[in-house]
Symmetry: C2
Subunit: 220 residues, 2 copies
DNA sequence: GACGAAAGCAAGTGACTACTTGCATGCAAG
DNA sequence: CTTGCATGCAAGTAGTCACTTGCTTTCGTC
């Protein structure tokens, strides 16, 4: 990581912006966080908007590499790993994303270029689910329409997004740990699109083919 | 709706805040939007923070009434109606929620009292799902653990939330119409927790118990 | 050692901010 | 008619904002 004031300003600008938003990211605060003089900011970038624009655009250009195989082997494990990575990446950029969303009306460009990364992830997940169908994993008891599968993909991404964005703000809505939640999302998703999932260990299953309401009921 | 300047200020404050956030909601803008003099604002509320605080708190106190029956009859229809109402309510407050989330660090109180409404909805949905299990609707081929059901409830709420918040910002992530998306969420959710759902009309089903990948595959 | 680029420092500019003060106006109740 | 009360209007205060200017310091290169 280079140490010239230009990079320190870019880094500090992204950090201050994530905490205080566009209006709250004053040139004074950014320069102070970068440990450089406020004038240096203007000498390098000309204006606060130019600095914030390039800083946020550069940060949003970080696209997480795919970790979904082209040919599925174990859908639950592979989707769980993907959702873990996606959740971690979204959690890291949580504050930044929040500010981008609330500033999208007055500063649309950075928000737009930041959404490209999410869209790429969406496309990859979609490709993977298409591969699931192509390789005959969707052999559930009832057929699932392609449109419904597409909606389910959006649902999974939305759930992981909402988890990463809201868990710290309203913990009561997330009774399960992050990992248990992601596992539940993935398993619900897979069952929802007709891909059978394994029975987790340590559960009194009874006879899986008959009514199992009594077997899975536990004191709340 | 009363027309005294007090209510007009409260209404205008909420509107301006939803569009510009805490810092961007200047007293000048609010007074202008309310059609009253800026001094009247201070005479009524004393300070900008007091006005914004009461305005946002009052708006966030709007709790949508429940429309989930205590005893389930048709889970898909009932959950679809609930998700439609929840989606509509969240969409209406979209901009406000965005600002609340990004301002939560510097002004936690309104964000906190706004999350109470969502939590109430979460609790009601959870109660309904408990009723689903109690009345024997979860008779799918495999048992679903209570923890997983809880995670699935979080997943459904998260998906509806993300849909309402992000659809206009990144339409490419939502290939289906809002209604078709909600239907897919609900059906995926129900199948995910072991509640069988009907087969939509107009789909070549083939034999539902055998592999149906060929039957549901369509050209993309 | 001389030179030039890059940085810091101090000060200032004009615009905007929340908020206050003093006074004139309109209006409703006594 | 008069007494309050609520509001509008004009002006002002102190602070912050983005941004500029002029000058000095530092430092690597020739």
């Amino acid at each position: 990581m280079p140490d010239d004031p230009r990079h320190r300003l870019l880094h500090a600008a992204a950090e201050v912006y994530a905490q205080h938003g566009w209006r709250g990211a004053t040139t004074r605060r950014i320069a102070e966080a970068a440990g450089v003089n406020e004038v240096t900011l203007f000498r390098h970038f000309g204006s606060k908007d130019a600095l914030l624009g390039t800083a946020v655009a550069e940060l949003a250009r970080v696209t997480e590499e795919t970790n979904l195989p082209a040919v599925p082997v174990c859908p639950e494990a592979e989707l769980l790993e993907w959702s873990r990575a996606h959740h971690a990446a979204t959690s890291t950029m949580r504050d930044l994303v929040r500010q981008l969303m609330s500033d999208a009306r007055e500063h649309p460009e950075p928000a737009h270029c930041a959404s490209d990364g999410v869209l790429a992830g969406f496309a990859r997940l979609r490709q993977y689910v298409l591969a699931l169908r192509r390789h005959g994993f969707m052999n559930g008891p009832a057929p699932v329409t392609p449109a419904e599968v597409r909606g389910a993909v959006t649902m999974l991404m939305g759930a992981v997004f909402a988890d990463a964005m809201n868990r710290e703000l309203m913990p009561a809505m997330f009774p399960l740990s992050p990992d248990a939640s992601l596992r539940a999302y993935v398993r619900t998703f897979l069952r929802g699109i007709g891909v059978p999932v394994g029975i987790p260990a340590g559960i009194p299953t009874g006879m899986p083919s008959e009514r199992t309401t009594a077997a899975v009921r536990t004191p709340e």
